[in-house]
């Protein structure tokens, strides 16, 4: 999808933030030169301007959990269409695996926070723009099934350019596949918490990511359906400042809270405590 590429053009050239390298890094928000060791302490947010660096799933996961055990990392794509544009999909997958050390764009697993168990999925934009193909859909569905069986909350952090077009219409179908589980969780009274990070667009936004019982967003994240450039081209107008940013979505009623990364853990902890109590009530009813 075009927004995927647009976002990639804007963000993809930026080196990954979790790689060991130079000691210093320039803040993309305010230009301040920051000491990397310091950024580890601030959870990769700028102490001056609160800019949130885009970080990998491996780096993000411990920021919102006490324990995490990955599952289903052996689920891999098979290139169902034999897709080839300028590059072969197979080669792109191989490169993405080498670059990220991940098997696909969603890291799934079993987590706890303040002794509350939950099922966690964390998307990683570094793996082909965090795009959702068959593997992301399947891993999401497995997480959802466990959440259902164990009656534990499902938490998914999105970071995605949308559907993975190299898998054609099958990737579109993953939008429906993820929503099957959300429909089941709804009936069972099991909570789904959606965390939106920069960027979350396209088919990911237009499926599970917008359906949390509670939706949290990191500050200044781009969140939308169509990419900003596609919209600008369509309407032939300048986009208003702050368009499709978290704060814009908050103002328009599309997310519950914009939460600084440093406040995510306590926020999630409160929600898990709340839903543990609420689920207790539901369990008596069933």
């Amino acid at each position: 999808m075009s927004w995927l590429q647009k976002t990639r053009e804007k963000l993809g050239g930026v080196p990954r933030r979790d790689m060991p390298g130079d000691l210093w890094i320039k803040c993309e928000g305010c230009g301040e030169i920051l000491y990397k060791k310091e950024l580890d302490k601030t959870l990769w947010t700028c102490p001056k301007c609160e800019y949130h660096f885009r970080i990998s799933a491996r780096l993000f996961t411990p920021m919102i959990t006490d324990t995490f055990v990955e599952t289903d990392q052996d689920v891999v794509s098979t290139d169902p269409l034999g897709f080839r544009a300028l590059k072969r999909y197979k080669d792109q997958l191989k490169q993405a695996r080498q670059k990220t050390g991940l098997s696909d764009a969603l890291v799934a697993g079993e987590a706890t926070l303040d002794s509350h168990p939950f099922l966690l999925g964390v998307m990683d934009f570094g793996f082909m723009g965090g795009s959702m193909g068959s593997v992301v859909g399947e891993k999401f569905a497995r997480l959802g099934r466990r959440a259902l069986e164990r009656r534990q909350p499902l938490v998914v952090s999105a970071q995605s350019g949308g559907a993975r077009m190299q898998e054609g219409v099958l990737s579109l179908m993953q939008m429906a596949k993820t929503c099957v589980r959300l429909a089941e969780l709804e009936e069972a009274g099991v909570p789904f918490i959606s965390i939106l990070t920069h960027p979350t667009t396209g088919g990911t936004t237009a499926s599970f990511a917008s359906l949390g019982d509670v939706i949290l967003a990191e500050p200044r994240a781009v969140i939308g359906f169509a990419g900003p450039r596609v919209i600008a081209q369509t309407i032939r107008q300048e986009l208003p400042p702050g368009f499709q940013r978290s704060e814009f979505l908050l103002e328009h009623g599309m997310v519950d809270r914009v939460v600084h990364r440093q406040a995510l853990k306590p926020t999630l902890s409160f929600l898990l405590r709340f839903f543990a109590q609420a689920r207790g009530q539901a369990a008596i009813g069933t």
């Binding site: 689920v75 891999v76 054609g168 359906l211 359906f225």
Partner: protein
């Protein structure tokens, strides 16, 4: 009715014009002209078969977008002996790009919805926003899904859109949420539900009303995660590579059967639905009613369970034994 001529059907249309002209002369018993007519008609039939038996995916895209194809309101008029359009999402406005309403088909009630394009009429096309729906369209459809569930009547959706509208208002009013909510609603609907891809099945905007028990597609229609032009401009950095993208995306009706994304291909009149819209509408009615009859006979819980399983099964992946579980961080 002047309609655009597609490049690959031009020689055929030219030949058919010749035949028509010749017929004008052939009132009498002129054997020579009769003989020539027969010859040309045989030639036309062969040409028609040659062109339409080996259409490229890109040619199908052009057929699927042909403004002379029947639109949703026309399909509804054929499906239902009586129907009534309902307006509005009860929240913001009515969306003329996505129409919905009630109908009586073979005497039985159903709800219907679908994208509505304006065909060759420019003014009408502008009013319909070229079939690009806003959140209000999807929320109007949601109202009808709820009604279908509340009153236990089937739903039939007609899909024909390049996608949901990429605009400021659409984003402000939550186009993502509107589509996402519909996906979940359709996966909770206990009524029989048939969706028909009649022309362009464009991405989330199409899926937003198409999570059905049975998804049907017209022979020359397509269903894709992205337009071929969009895919070409991203993956080839060149939108003129759309024909290549159309090949690579594997989105023609026969591809979709193989991928398990649709259940049945509805054959079109030779030369495409725009050549004989009446016949296309009749066939769609027959096939939809056949599926509805079968779905109505099923237990509602079982039907919904199967719909969910249908979508859970979609997707292709493998498990790699080499990717042994890593130590938790």
């Amino acid at each position: 009715m002047a309609q655009p001529v597609l490049e690959f059907e031009r020689p055929l249309l030219e030949l058919e014009r010749q035949i028509g002209d010749l017929r004008g002369f052939a009132e009498g018993e002129n054997l020579e002209i009769q003989e020539e007519l027969r010859r040309l008609e045989t030639k036309a039939a062969r040409m028609r078969h040659e062109i339409f038996s080996r259409l490229t995916p890109w040619q199908r895209v052009q057929l699927a977008r042909h403004p002379g194809r029947p639109n949703t309101l026309e399909y509804v008029a054929s499906l239902c002996e009586e129907s009534m359009e309902l307006a509005g999402d009860r929240n913001f406005r009515d969306d003329p790009a996505l129409v919905a309403g009630l109908g009586l088909s073979a005497g039985a009630p159903l709800v219907w919805m679908g994208h509505q394009k304006g065909g060759s009429d420019v003014k009408e096309n502008v009013r319909r926003n070229f079939g690009y729906a806003h959140p209000e369209g999807y929320r109007k459809a949601a109202r009808l899904f709820h009604m279908a569930g509340k009153f236990g009547v089937p739903a039939v959706a007609f899909v024909d859109t390049q996608g949901a509208y990429p605009g400021i208002g659409a984003e402000e009013r939550g186009i993502s949420e509107a589509i996402a909510r519909n996906l979940k609603t359709m996966l909770s609907l206990h009524s029989p539900f048939v969706a028909v891809i009649t022309g362009e099945g464009g991405s989330g905007g199409a899926l937003g009303i198409a999570v059905a028990d049975v998804v049907l597609i017209l022979e020359h229609a397509f269903y894709s995660v992205i337009t071929p032009e969009g895919c070409a401009s991203i993956l080839w950095s060149d939108s003129s590579k759309a024909p290549q993208a159309a090949e690579a995306l594997k989105f023609t009706s026969s591809d979709l059967i193989q991928l398990g994304v649709v259940e049945e291909i509805i054959p079109e009149p030779e030369g495409g639905a725009h050549r004989d819209p009446e016949a296309a509408r009749r066939t769609v009615r027959e096939v939809v009613l056949r599926h509805l009859a079968r779905l109505k006979a099923m237990d509602p819980e079982d039907r919904l369970r199967r719909r969910r399983e249908r979508f859970l099964k979609l997707g292709v992946f493998d498990t790699d034994p080499d990717l042994t579980p890593r130590e938790p961080r």
